[in-house]
Symmetry: C2
Subunit: 528 residues, 2 copies
């Protein structure tokens, strides 16, 4: 016996239609590639989205066809999000920071029919064109795009279809092997958007002015283009202007209350703010994810600027939101140090996601904040397989293995201690490379540090620190090792420190330990 | 082409399972019928819910069977919510304030197999038993219930099934004709719970301590037993103790931050607070719905007690949440009077609900805050028909007609000006009975007032005020009519005032204009 409720599929077109009707006058503001400010309303956006949907039909884009973007956060990218998915086609956001060969691989693997690109990437597109066999139309997001819309009317009824229809395709950055595609459905995107907007997740409402620093070309900017539209938040898109000065100006001129991004961008902004003795007039909350947020950054935002930090964790394979670090009612009276320690963890599960840690034999480990194991997740916005079945069946007993190693405390807060492949296995026990890195970074003379396991005749692996000094600062190997004393168990003590001028990074700006391990593959501790 | 996301139906059992794992130590506190305080955690609740699910099997309750409750807000009622729906059966909450004949009709119509009842209703149950033909087990929520659980283990895996399966049955209070049943599904209940928890709806999170005054026996207490569990809010159940003193004590002893209920209850609480010069230590927000919240109540909470009021509107047929009165970003700087005027409206659509107003010919009317017409709604938690098809197809062009008459302003805020059947049609134009009532109530000598249309030879209908004076206060017919001057268009001026000692109310405490119109059916203005 079924309930007797209206049969209404959860479709992405429902978001922009709702915003048009119920948040008609709320603005979407974009700083363009050229540097000017573009400003319109959800109602005006929806009219242009419908024109674009008509243009896509004229270009021959049908249900399930992939339409790619190489674009910054901006109003035209926003329009493509809605026109493509609303039409039943699949929006494939490509990360322009990937190597050209990776982009070509991805676009061919996805069989993209149309590519929309910001003019920033015109040269890249010219170079790639000969390799992109499936693409019939390359459209620059300038007058060319405007001419496309000018030909169309805004007369359009959004089609209705199964909510399990594919809507968005996003490839992992792929530190090993070829990138693999996560294919989100309308259903998963919509349930994820509801969950993203919850008070304990990103806390989105029509009272907020949101500037997504996190790019729309990667995991849908953590759902913000969807969840802000859902809740009628004013959106502010920074385009490519992610330096401290540009961001601060936009925060102030548009009254931004909330923003979200990776630690690297915030570092640039905080430095700019301090150098110029600036304040935030309206900014209240920042969400920090993508990689672990250093405790010093949490303190800088909260203590120096009065901006509350929310630490979040997720991944491409989970749309991406998994956990956020909001408090529970009975944690309201924690002391400052305890609050900060809790905030430095990656947080607790958003409703819809379940998670667990398992040992090497797949047995669930206790939530005691000490045991650490492989983190597994499941939920309606977690993938069950990759696009075209690449990599086979990724699930283990119905759970998706994240590749992260974590502890979970009794309140459900996870702390990522390592990547499964980066954890250092010393004498049958695990040592967290990330814990050791955080200590090194806390040293005043250290700008960046990586800890990797190197082969050891007796212990299998032992940790070494590879570190970059801050300009004009100095520290010796022995001084840095002494800095670890009292902060870790003795057997976690790194066996060596190597100072370098630069550490290798991936296309998305993450530390590339894979490259680093290759660089140090012949390093022998016993030779020292 | 489908997305490649995990196939995970939206089931109510997922809520309690999540709370068990991720909010294990968060409390559910209940004031029992006997007056003691019961206290346990989500984890302990889930163990008992599983025992109850095993007990239901033993009682012969199968998929789709209806299990009724006649119960206050309390932990056992909470357990029944989850055990019944989690098992694939249907929880049928009966409003004990209905007349005994109506309850008998409803229970027979629903074909309830089991009835759980609070001991408060033992006499009522004894009286009803001979009429309830389908019921096999009557179980009192005292030791009898405990013995049922004692026989079972908490070993249980929740079954998985289609999310469109019926989960909850709630009958309308039925001012005309027999009550009709709204049959919610797991899907509708879950999407509604996500929407209910959003910052612009009830703003629920693990940081809140929530006391639902609104009864679990009527439209699922506005989703709170679901959406609080979803978000890990601490819950505080008041049982039958809804007087000002009991509520205030419970607010204070449990650190309640948010509550929700109908105006009548708040009136009692506010009077008690004022008489005893009390304050709220932790309460920050109250949600007021069920009937229009008088502006004076909004001011009393906000100005006298520092508690923010959220006005909400909905109905049984929509699970029930439709609109809430939260502000938009650009309304943040409104002056106090403008803010209060906006708060006195019923609010704007929760994401998932669309709404419109139409004229007598079904044509959509403009959102100008002036035009008023019949309010229609649609969305995944709005019914498409009543249980067993009673009353035929209620929809008009795919929209559900709410029976309310509203204006909608350009920002999407609705203001209920009347019930469709209560609106006074004078010379082809509509006069809002509610607007006229609000003015009468604002007079210092008036305790309660109803405005109804009475037959008029020239204008078809004209409004008259039927009013109850406050004890010890006096006002004459002409004084009250003068009080209207300057507040309304001249042709809205009531033609008469009749003072009575008491106004008729429905079983759920609402003013019964139907009864009032019957009382005044022979009243003739031309005879005056």
């Amino acid at each position: 016996m079924h309930g007797l409720m209206m049969d209404q599929p959860l479709l992405i077109s429902g978001l922009i239609r709702h915003a048009d009707r119920h948040h008609a006058q709320t603005e979407i503001v974009s700083k363009t590639v050229e540097g000017s400010v573009h400003r319109y309303t959800y109602r005006q956006a929806h009219a242009r989205v419908r024109r674009l949907a008509n243009a896509l039909k004229r270009l021959g884009v049908g249900m399930h066809d992939r339409v790619a973007t190489l674009a910054w956060n901006g109003f035209r990218h926003f329009e493509i999000y809605y026109a493509v998915a609303g039409s039943g086609a699949v929006i494939h956001t490509i990360n322009p920071r990937l190597f050209a060969d990776q982009i070509a691989y991805i676009a061919n693997h996805a069989e993209d029919k149309v590519v929309f690109y910001d003019t920033t990437f015109a040269a890249l597109i010219e170079k790639l064109k000969p390799q992109l066999n499936s693409v019939r139309h390359f459209i620059a997001l300038n007058d060319e795009y405007e001419r496309l819309l000018d030909k169309e009317t805004d007369q359009l009824e959004w089609p209705s279809f199964d909510e399990n229809t594919a809507a968005c395709l996003c490839y992992t950055s792929g530190t090993t092997g070829n990138p693999k595609g996560a294919l989100y459905s309308h259903r998963s995107t919509m349930i994820h958007a509801y969950a993203a907007a919850l008070p304990d997740t990103l806390n989105l409402s029509a009272r907020e002015v949101v500037l997504p620093v996190v790019p729309m070309f990667h995991v849908n900017a953590w759902s913000l283009p969807y969840s802000c539209t859902m809740t009628g938040a004013k959106m502010v898109f920074p385009g490519p202007h992610l330096d401290g000065k540009s961001l601060h100006q936009l925060f102030e001129s548009e009254g931004v209350t909330m923003s979200a991004g990776v630690p690297t961008v915030w570092l640039g902004l905080l430095n700019y703010m301090k150098e110029n003795r600036l304040r935030f007039s309206t900014l209240k909350n920042v969400v920090i994810g993508g990689s672990a947020c250093p405790p010093a950054m949490i303190r800088a935002f909260q203590d120096d600027f009065g901006v509350q930090v929310l630490h979040a964790w997720g991944m491409t394979e989970m749309s991406p939101l998994g956990t956020t670090g909001t408090f529970k009612a009975r944690q309201a009276n924690l002391q400052k140090a305890e609050r900060e320690a809790l905030q430095a963890k990656q947080g607790r599960a958003v409703f819809g996601v379940d998670l667990r840690i398992v040992d090497e034999n797949g047995r669930e480990l206790p939530w005691d904040g000490k045991a650490f194991g492989d983190l597994q997740v499941r939920g309606p916005w977690v993938i069950k397989s990759y696009f075209k079945g690449e990599g086979g069946d990724p699930l283990k007993d119905g759970w998706f293995p994240t590749g992260d190693v974590c502890t979970i405390d009794p309140e459900g807060y996870i702390q990522v201690t390592d990547r499964s492949k980066d954890v250092i296995k010393s004498g049958g026990e695990w040592i967290s490379s990330i814990d050791l890195e955080n200590i090194a970074i806390a040293h005043p003379a250290i700008a960046e540090a990586a800890v990797i396991g190197v082969r050891h005749p007796k212990w299998d692996e032992r940790p070494i620190v590879v570190a970059v000094k801050k300009p004009g600062q100095d520290v010796t190997r022995d001084e840095l090792l002494r800095f670890y004393e009292g902060k870790i168990a003795k057997w976690w003590m790194p066996d060596d420190v190597v100072f370098v001028n630069e550490l290798p990074h991936t296309a998305t700006g993450k530390l590339s330990k894979l490259t680093l391990r290759q660089q140090f593959k012949d390093y022998r501790l016993d030779q020292k």
